[in-house]
C-alpha cells in the first residue's frame, strides 16, 4: 500500500473528482472517516487519491460526450489498468511508472509515406486541435470504464504525413527501453509491444491519438506521452507510449495476436456475440458498478464503424 505524506500544495480530493462522482466505495470511506476508528486511517486513505498532472490548455469539446456522472473516477482510470511494460497486475503500472520521464519524446514516422522522419512530440501534436472525447473503454477482460480522453484525431496526423497509394495499414510500436520500462526484462510479452490498424480504421473519425485525460497530461501509467485509443475495439489495441508509426502495404503483426492467435485477433472489435475462448464477452463490469451490464456491439459505436466491416465474418475475423 502506498503511504503518502500530504503536502499543503497537493490537490484536494474535491478538486480532482466532483463530489457527485463518488461511488459507494468512497462514500463508505467518508462514513468510516467520520467514525472513531476512521479518524486514524481517514487522512492517509484520502492521501491516496490521484495526483493532479499538468493542465492541458486549449482543449475543444467534441461531439463525443457522455454525462459526467457516468465518468469513471480519475483515480480508477489511473490506478487500475494494464501496461505490462510496468508489471502485470492492474495496480503495478501506477506504482512502477512513477519515475518514467516521457519527455523529450520522438516519434519516428516511416514506410509508405511522403513525409517520413523523426518528429519531436511537440511537432507531431502542436499543429492539431486538442479535443476532449468521452469514450466508453472496454477491456478484453470484460471490465469497462468511461474515460474523458484528450487527444488529436489520428486522421489529421495521417493526412499531414501524406501516405502513398501503397499504404494499406498503419503500424505502431511502443518504446523499448528496459531501463525506463523495467518489466521489459521479463518475457511475459514479446517486446516491443506492436499494434496496427487497417488504413480505413486509422482514418475513422473516432480514432484518437491521446495525450491526456481528465483535462491533464497523460499520466505515465496510461501510456505517456502519446497513445492510441480506438473505442470500438478492445483496450489492448490502444498501444501506449508510441515511438514509431509506419505505413505498410501488408497487415502488420500485433503483440497479443502473436502471443495467443486463437484468443486475440488483429481486429479485436468489441463483439458480445463472439466470446473469448476462456470467458464470455456478452457482459462487462463497468468499474464502480456492482452488477454487470450488457456489452454493446462495437462498444456502442456501430453507427460510426459497422460499415468498415460489412460483408466480413466477424466470428472469423475477431
Amino acid at each position: 500500500m502506498l503511504i503518502k505524506i500530504t503536502k499543503p500544495s497537493d490537490a484536494k480530493t474535491s478538486e480532482i473528482t466532483p463530489q457527485s462522482l463518488f461511488k459507494d466505495r468512497r462514500r463508505f470511506i467518508k462514513a468510516a472517516a467520520a467514525t472513531g476508528a476512521g479518524l486514524a486511517v481517514g487522512p492517509f486513505l484520502m492521501a491516496q487519491e490521484a495526483e493532479a498532472g499538468a493542465k492541458l490548455l486549449g482543449i475543444q469539446k467534441s461531439k463525443w460526450q457522455l454525462p459526467e456522472k457516468e465518468w469513471t473516477p480519475k483515480e480508477d482510470v489511473t490506478e487500475y489498468n494494464n501496461f505490462y511494460e510496468f508489471g502485470t497486475s492492474k495496480e503495478s503500472p501506477e506504482r512502477n511508472a512513477k519515475k518514467f520521464k516521457p519527455k523529450p519524446w520522438t516519434v519516428k514516422v516511416e514506410g509508405e509515406v511522403d513525409k517520413p522522419g523523426d518528429y519531436d512530440f511537440e511537432d507531431l501534436v502542436r499543429p492539431h486541435q486538442l479535443e476532449e472525447r468521452v469514450y466508453r473503454h472496454r477491456c478484453v477482460e470484460a471490465w469497462s470504464m468511461v474515460v474523458p480522453w484528450v487527444g488529436i484525431p489520428l486522421a489529421d496526423v495521417i493526412k499531414r504525413m501524406g501516405p502513398t497509394s501503397k499504404a494499406k495499414y498503419v503500424a505502431f510500436e511502443t518504446l523499448f527501453d528496459p531501463e525506463r520500462m523495467p518489466f521489459q526484462t521479463s518475457s511475459s510479452l514479446d517486446w516491443p509491444y506492436v499494434e496496427g490498424l487497417r488504413m480505413d480504421e486509422a482514418m475513422n473519425p473516432l480514432t484518437l491519438l491521446v495525450t491526456g485525460l481528465y483535462g491533464e497530461e497523460l499520466p505515465n501509467q496510461n501510456g505517456a506521452p502519446i497513445r492510441l485509443v480506438t473505442p470500438w475495439k478492445y483496450g489492448f489495441k490502444g498501444i501506449k507510449s508510441i515511438v514509431k508509426i509506419s505505413f505498410t502495404e501488408k497487415q502488420p503483426s500485433t503483440t497479443w495476436n502473436k502471443m495467443q492467435p486463437g484468443e486475440y485477433g488483429f481486429y479485436a472489435n468489441v463483439n458480445p456475440e463472439v466470446d473469448h475462448p476462456r470467458w464470455s464477452q456478452a457482459k462487462e463490469r463497468r468499474i464502480g458498478d456492482f452488477l454487470k451490464s450488457k456489452t454493446l456491439m462495437f462498444n456502442g459505436y456501430a453507427d460510426e464503424v459497422a460499415s468498415l466491416y460489412s460483408g466480413m465474418d466477424l466470428a472469423e475475423n475477431f
Binding site: E79, Y84, E91, W143, I287
Partner: protein, 220 residues
C-alpha cells in the same frame, strides 16, 4: 523445543488464527476501500490464491513430518484441509453470488465452455466427499484403509487447482509455475516414498512404520 510448541495446548488455536488471518485482512481491506477499482475481481483472486496456498500447506504436512521426523504435525492436517475447503467454497460463492450475481445461464455456460472453470468446478466437487468424511466418526465407519484411499483424491485436487490457476492467467505464468513446482515436490516426495529404488529400503520403511500401525501408502 519446536516439538513442545507443536503439542502446546495453544498450538491449535494459533493455527486457527493464522488460517483466519487472510479473511480478516480481506475484510479490513474491504472496509478501508483498499480493494482497488475492481473489488469483486480482487476478492475473487484473493480467495482463490489462499484456497490454493492452504491446499498446498495441507499437502505439505506429511512430507514435512517425514523429512523432519515431526510426527506432531499430523494433528494439524485435517484442520488445514478443511480451511482449504472453506476458502475454495468462499471463492466459488463469491463467483456465483457476487461476480455473476446468480446468473445461472452464464454460470452454466462458463462451467461447460471455459476449461479453466470446468477444471475448478471438478476440483471443488472432488473436495466435497473429503470434507464430509473428515470427521473421526466417518473415518471409522469407512475403515482406515478405505478412508485413506478416498482421501488420496486430494492429490488430484491439488493438480486441478494449479491447472485452474495456470489456465486463467493471461500472459505472466511465473506465479502459477511456482505453485506447480511446490506441488510437484510435495507429490514427488510421496512417489519416491511409495516406490523406493531398492527393496531393502522399502522393507526398512515398512518395519519402521509398523509400530504406529501405518503401512506403506497409508502413511503418505
Amino acid at each position: 523445543m519446536f516439538r513442545t510448541l507443536l503439542i502446546h495446548r495453544l498450538a491449535k488455536p494459533a493455527v486457527h488464527v493464522l488460517c483466519l488471518a487472510p479473511l480478516v485482512w480481506l475484510a479490513w481491506r474491504g472496509f478501508s476501500g483498499d480493494l482497488g477499482a475492481n473489488p469483486i475481481e480482487a476478492i475473487n483472486r484473493f480467495l482463490g490464491d489462499w484456497a490454493l496456498r492452504l491446499l498446498l500447506i495441507a499437502l505439505a504436512v506429511t512430507p514435512l513430518r517425514g523429512i523432519f521426523g515431526l510426527n506432531e504435525l499430523a494433528r494439524f492436517r485435517r484442520m488445514l484441509g478443511l480451511y482449504a475447503f472453506a476458502y475454495v467454497s468462499l471463492h466459488l460463492t463469491n463467483y456465483i453470488a457476487v461476480d455473476q450475481f446468480f446468473d445461472w445461464g452464464e454460470i452454466w455456460k462458463d462451467i461447460v465452455k471455459r476449461t479453466f472453470i470446468t477444471v475448478g468446478m471438478i476440483a471443488f466437487i472432488l473436495l466435497i466427499p473429503l470434507a464430509v468424511t473428515s470427521t473421526k466418526g466417518m473415518s471409522k465407519r469407512l475403515g482406515g484403509l478405505r478412508w485413506q484411499k478416498l482421501h488420496q483424491v486430494v492429490y488430484g485436487v491439488g493438480v486441478l487447482g494449479v491447472v485452474h490457476f495456470y489456465m486463467m492467467v493471461k500472459a505472466d505464468v511465473r506465479e502459477p509455475l511456482i505453485y506447480a513446482a511446490i506441488l510437484a515436490f510435495l507429490l514427488g516426495w510421496r512417489v519416491v516414498k511409495r516406490f523406493p529404488r531398492n527393496g531393502a529400503s522399502r522393507k526398512r520403511e515398512k518395519k519402521k512404520s509398523l509400530p504406529d500401525g501405518q503401512v506403506g501408502a497409508a502413511s503418505l
